[in-house]
Symmetry: D3
C-alpha cells in the first residue's frame, strides 16, 4: 500500500511528460468508444514488482480503467506469464501504456537483479543484502519497495533517519570517538550509529566508542573475516564497495551481517514486460 499522497505526484509528473500535448496517433486512429483488454506479460524470467503503480497510472489517465493484478509483487514469473490486465477504453490504455511500462520495467528490473544477489547467499545464511541511497532521483520509495520485492532489505531511507559516519565526518569531528559521541548526542534514540572504518585501528576505536554498526568500506577481502572475529557480535558488520555477485557467498560465509549493493538501484537493467492489447466487442 503506497498512499496516493506519495504515489500520485510521481505518476502525474511522468504522465504529463508524455501526454501534455495529447497523443496524436491514438486520438487520430482509435475511435473514442473502442474498448480493449491488455495483458502485461513477462518476456523474460523476472520478479514481479509495481502492480499498484501499474494500476494507478492506468487510472490516472482514465478513472474507468479496471486493472486486475494476477501476480503479487515479489512473485517469480516465467516468460509468458501474465502479471496484470487492464480493461476499458482502448484510447486510454494506449495513452497510458508507455508510462506504466516505464515504471514497472524499472521496478521489476530492480527486483529481478536483487533476487540474483539474494539467491547467491548460502542456504540458511543470516546475512542481509541491502540497497543504498544510490537511487534514482525522485523514485526512492518505489525502488526501495522493489528491493524488498526481490527479497533483500533496505538501508536507511534518508539522511534524517539514521547515522552513518564517513571519513569526512571523522576528519572534521576530530576522530572516530568524537564523531560517534557527537552523533549519538544528536540522533534520535531510535536510530543506530553506523561508522565507516578503513583501518584496523579505526575499527578498534569504533568498537571502543560503542558503534552499533561498523561499515567496512572497500576493505581488503582478506581483512574481513578477521574483522568479524574481532568484533565478535559487539556490533553489526556491513560491507560495501566493489561488491560483485561472485563475492556474495564468501562475504556471507565470513559472517558479515549486511552487504550493501548500490548497483541494485543505480544499475539494474529494465526487465522486459510487454503489453498485449486486444480490442473488445463494443458493449451495447
Amino acid at each position: 500500500m503506497i498512499p496516493d499522497a506519495v504515489l500520485l505526484p510521481l505518476i502525474d509528473r511522468a504522465l504529463a511528460e508524455d501526454l501534455e500535448g495529447g497523443d496524436l496517433t491514438t486520438e487520430a486512429t482509435v475511435p473514442e468508444h473502442t474498448r480493449a483488454v491488455a495483458r502485461a506479460a513477462a518476456r523474460q524470467e523476472l520478479v514481479v514488482c509495481g502492480g499498484e503503480v501499474f494500476e494507478r497510472v492506468m487510472q490516472r489517465v482514465d478513472g474507468k480503467l479496471v486493472v486486475d493484478r494476477l501476480l503479487d509483487d515479489g512473485t517469480v514469473a516465467k516468460p509468458g506469464d501474465v502479471l496484470w490486465t487492464v480493461e476499458g477504453a482502448a484510447r486510454s490504455i494506449l495513452m497510458a501504456e508507455r508510462t506504466a511500462l516505464n515504471f514497472v520495467q524499472r521496478m521489476t528490473g530492480v527486483a529481478t537483479l536483487t533476487k540474483t544477489y539474494v539467491d547467491a547467499l548460502p542456504t540458511g545464511s543470516k546475512t542481509r543484502i541491502t540497497d543504498t541511497r544510490k537511487t534514482t532521483p525522485g523514485l526512492r520509495s518505489l525502488e526501495r519497495h522493489a528491493v524488498r520485492s526481490g527479497g533483500a532489505h533496505n538501508h536507511r531511507d534518508s539522511l534524517g533517519s539514521a547515522v552513518m559516519i564517513k571519513d569526512n565526518h571523522i576528519a572534521t569531528a576530530g576522530g572516530v570517538k568524537m564523531a560517534i559521541e557527537s552523533a549519538r548526542a544528536r540522533a534520535p534514540h531510535t536510530s543506530r550509529i553506523e561508522v565507516e572504518v578503513d583501518t584496523d585501528a579505526q575499527l578498534d576505536e569504533a568498537l571502543a566508542a560503542g558503534a552499533d554498526v561498523i561499515l567496512l568500506d572497500n576493505f581488503p577481502p582478506a581483512g574481513i573475516a578477521p574483522a568479524v572475529a574481532k568484533v565478535a557480535g559487539r556490533a553489526l558488520i556491513e560491507v560495501s564497495g566493489g561488491i560483485t555477485l561472485e563475492r556474495i557467498p564468501e562475504l556471507a560465509s565470513a559472517g558479515v551481517d549486511v552487504i550493501s549493493v548500490g548497483a541494485l538501484t543505480h544499475s539494474a537493467p529494465a526487465a522486459d514486460i510487454g503489453l498485449d492489447i486486444a480490442p473488445l466487442p463494443e458493449t451495447s
Copy 2:
C-alpha cells in the same frame, strides 16, 4: 541551458527525499563554519554529462556554494579527471553530495553507454542512433540531454510531438492506409508520420500511403537490406527491437537511417564518479 522552471522541480523533489528530516550525521559532526572544496572526479572512462544539474543541486541546498565546471557535457574523461569542483560550507556539500551524484552518475551513465553505440557506427556513416520514450519516469528531459551528450540523437519527445503508428493503431484504424490518413489529418503539419510495419505487404502499403518514416520493428535481419532497397529513399527507415551493439555496423551498412535503442535510457548502468572532499582553512 535547462531553465530553472524545468530543472528545479526535479532537483527539489530529489533533495526533499533525502533531506526532509535533515542530515543527522553531518549536523552532528561538521562544524557550521567549516569550509571545504570538493572535486567530482571520474573513476572510469566516461562521457561527461550533467554539469548544470550538479551545480543547481549544490546551490539548491546552499545558494552560496560555488561550482566550477571544468569539463563540458559531451567531453570524454579519463579515470582521475576532475569534472567539476564545488567550494563552500562543508556541511552543505556533504548534504548535497548523494543527490548530486545520483543525478550525474545516471546522466553520465546514459551518455557513456550511448557513445559505445555511436562509436560502433562505421566511419562516415549517416545512420543515427536514437533514444526512445523508454526513459525514467520524471527524468526524460535529463536523459534526452544525456543521449545527445553521448553523440546520439533524440526520438520524438512525447506522444504529442509526432506520429508513430503501431500495430494496435493500424488494427483499430482499419489498415495502414487509413491509419496514416487519419493521423496526417490530425497531426500538426510540422510532425512527420512514422508507421511501424511488420511485413513486406505492410511496407508496400505504408509507402503507398506516403509515410514519412517507416519503422521496421523486430524485422528479420535478412529482410532489412531488401526493405531499404525497396523504399529507395521515399521514406526514412528506422529499425528497433533486439538491437545489440554487435548489430550496429551491419544495420548501418544496410543503409537504415535510424537505429533506436531503448537500452540507452532504460538499462544504462550508472557511471562511477567520486566526490573527494577536502577541508579548507577558515577564512578570517
Copy 3:
C-alpha cells in the same frame, strides 16, 4: 480524454484562486442539504467546447456532483441549447460555477472564433487553419483542444517538438542553408524543419536546403501566389502575419497549405454560456 494528470493541476489552481477562503455567500445562504440541478446553456450561437473540463471542475469541488454532457465538443449550439447539466448539492454547484464557466467560456470562445476562420475557407479547400504558440500561459493544452473543436488544426505544441527557424536564428547561424542543416542535425527525425523567409532570395535558399515547410511571414499579398508557384509542392507553405478573416479565401485560393492565426487563442472573446440553477426537492 485529457488525463487527470494534465487537467487537475489547472483546475485545482483555478479553484484555489476563488475558494481558498471559502464562499461566504453560499455558506451563509444555502442550506447544506439543498439539492439542485443546473443547466449550462448557450446564450449565443457557439461551438461547444470543454465538457470534460466542466465535469472535472464540478467534481473537484464535490465528488458527488453528477454531470451529464448533452452535446459533444465541436457541436454547433444555438442560443438556448443546453450543453451540459450538473446535479447535486446546491452549495457545491454554486461554489464551482464561476470557475467552471471561466474555463468553458474561454474554450468555447476559442472554438467559436476558430470556426469562423475555417468556414471562410472555400468549399473543398485543402488549406489548413492552425493556431500558434500564442496561447494563454498555462492553458495551452486546453486551447489547442478548443482549436480542434472549432475545426482547425494545431501547429507544433512546443519548442521541443519541431523546428521553426526565424530571422534571428538565420542571422546567428550564418544564413538559411547553415541554419537548416544545423537544425536537421539536431532535431528528431520525426520533426519537420520549417523556415521563415522574408524575401524571394531566402525562399530559393530554403528550397535548395530542403526545408520541409516554408513560412511566408508578413509576405506581401501579391507575392504569395508566385511563391506557391515557385515552391511547386517541394515544401509545404505556411503564411502568417496580418491574417484577417477577409483574407482567408484569397490565401486559400493562392494554394497555401497552412494559414496560422495567433488571434484564435490570444484574442478570442469569451463565448456566452449561462448556468441556470434550479432547486430540487430533497430526497428522503
Copy 4:
C-alpha cells in the same frame, strides 16, 4: 511587487509547457556564447503592463539575463516605444521570448481595453469601472493588476473576501432580507454585503435590510436613474450586464457608483508587442 511565492508558479508552469523538451531550433542554430540585446516595443498604442512578469520570465530561464524596465506599468506607450529591454545570452532570450510575450501581451491587452472604458467616463466622474471574477483560470492576480494599470478598480478578489448575494442565494435563503441577515452573520466584519436585485420590490427590500452595495444586474436602462434616486446614498450602486463602451457615459451620469465589466478580462484582445533581438559583440 508580486511576490515570487505567487508569481513563480505561474511562470514556471508556462515555461515548462513550451520548454520541457528544449528548444530544438535555438539550440541548433545559436551558439552558446552569442550575446544579444532585445527590445520589447509597442506596435500599437497601448497601456504598459507586466514589466515585472517580463523580467521574472527572462530570469527564470536564465538568471543572468538583465532586464531594464523603461516604462512603468500604467504608462501609455505609442507605437515604437520601447517598454523593456533584456540583455544576455541570445539563446536564453530566444527560449524565453514567446512565454514572456504571451504573458505581457495579455496583461497589456487587458490594461489597454480597460483604459478605453475609464476614458469613457465623463470628466470628473466618481463612478468606478471594475473587473469581475470572470478572469482567466490561474491568472487572476495578474489580470487584476492589469485592470488597475488601465486605471480601473478591482471587484472582490474571491468568494471568500466579500458577500455577493445573487438570485439563487435569495431563493434558497428565503428572500432578500433573510439572505442579507444570514450573510452578515457569517461574513467578516471587514466585508461589505452586496445584493443583486432584479426588481424595484427587491430593491426596497435590500435597502430595508441594510445592504451595503446593491447590484442592478441587467436592469432596464430607464430604471437606473430612478433606482439611484431611491437609494439616495444609503448604499453603493453597481450595475452590470450588457455593459458596452457606449453606455458608460450615460450610466455614470445616472450616478451609479460602480460599473463592472466582465469583458475587461474575459474578452480583451492581446496587445501587439514585438521583441526585436540584436546580437551583441562577444565580450572578451
Copy 5:
C-alpha cells in the same frame, strides 16, 4: 464543504512527511487483509471539528476506507463520545492515524478554545469574537473553519480582501486621513476600511475621514467605553491586544462590536482525541 482543490495539497503534504518511507512497523506486523474498525473518541470535553479532513486523510491513504461522521463540526462532545468511525484495511488505518489526528486535534483544539471566549460573552451580547491572521502557516483555511465551529467569527482572510491601516501605514501615508483616502481609492468597493488608532486624536481623525471600522489596539481599558460613546455607531469598533478571557465580559459590556483574539489560532492547545482500533473478522 472544503473543495479537494484546497484540501488535498494540505493533506498530501502532511501524509508524505510521515509516510514517504513507508510504515516499517505496520507493514511488518499487520497482515495485508486484516480489517479493522476504529473509533475517534473525545477524551475531554471539546467542540468537534475536522470531520471532513479526517475522512479525506483516511481516503488519501486508502480510497477504500469508509468513514462515518457521527457528530457534526461545532457539536459539543463529552469525554467518551465517538466523533467519527473508519472501517477498512487495518494497515491503512494505522498508517493514516497519526496524520489524521494531528489535523483534527489542532482543529478541535482551536474550536474548543474559541468556544470558551464565545461563552464568556454576556447573554444576548452582539459583540463578536474573531480570529486574526495569526494562523499556522499553510493551515489558515482549516483554522478559520475551526474558529467558526467554535461559534466565533473570522476576520479578513488575507491582505487582499480588506483594508487594515496600521501605524506604519499611517506614518508613510502622511496621516490617518490621507491613509484612509488612499486606501479607499485602491480597495474594492466591497471591502471595508479599518484603521487602527492609538490615541483619542487619531480616533477623531479616523471618524472624520469616514473609516468603516476602527481598531482600538492595546487601548487602555478605561478608554474603551468613552471611545464607544464618541463613535456612537458611526463605525464598527474592534479591540485587540492583551485580550484575556477575563476581559471579555467587560469589553462586551462596553459595547465594542468586535474582539479579535490572536490566541484562538496561535496558542490553542491540541484537544485530546483518541483512535481506538479493533480488528474485524475477515470477510469471506
Copy 6:
C-alpha cells in the same frame, strides 16, 4: 541549514495564503520607493528559533531585502532583545511581516516551551526529553528543529525511519515476540526496534525478544522505577503519556532514558515577538 528544496514550498504556500490577492493597504499607503528597517524583538523571555525561516520569508517576497541575524537559534533572549533585523523596501517588509512572524512565533514558542522541560531535569541528568510525531501537519521539519533549539531531542522523524510497536501491532502480529521478530526482519539494520508495553508481563516478553527500546506508555508512576531496575540497561526506557512538567524530575531520577512529550509541538503557545518598523531616508 534547511535546504531551499525543503523550506521554500512551506514558505511559498504560507505567503500565497496571505498575498495571492495583493496587500490592499500597503500598496495604497506606502510609496514604492520608501525604505525601512525593521527589528524583530522579543517581548517576553524566549528561546530564539527560526532565523533562517525569517530571512527566507522576507527574501521570497522581495529578493533585495537584507536580513541580519543577531542571535542564533537556541539563544535565550530577554524582553527587548533584538533577534533579527531586515532592511529594504518598506512595502516588502510590511507584506512579509505577518507570515514571517507566524512562522517564527510558532517555532520560538516550541523552543521556549521545550526549554522549560529540559530545565526541569535534575542537574547532570542523562535523561532526554524528546518530541513525538504529534507535529503540525506540514511543519514537522521546522518543529523538530525548534525542539532541538530548546535543548531537547527528536524522536523518530517518520513511520519509515524506525520501528515503534504499539498495542494494535502486537494484537495483529500475535504477541510481543512475534511483533518484534517481524519488525526486525523488515526494518533497516540502522533502525532500532521500540516496543510499547502496558504490563509487567509484556515487559518481560519484550526484553526476552531483544527490544532495543521499551516504551512504558501511561505506566503507573509507581511501576516505573521497578521497570527500570528490571531492564537493567538491556534496553533503553522511554516513558510517555500524561507527562507534566512537574513529573520530569521524578521520572529522570527513576532512571528512564527518554521522556517523550507530545505537548512540545502540539500545544506550545506562540512566543511574543514584535516587528518594529522604522522608515529610512531615501538613498539618492
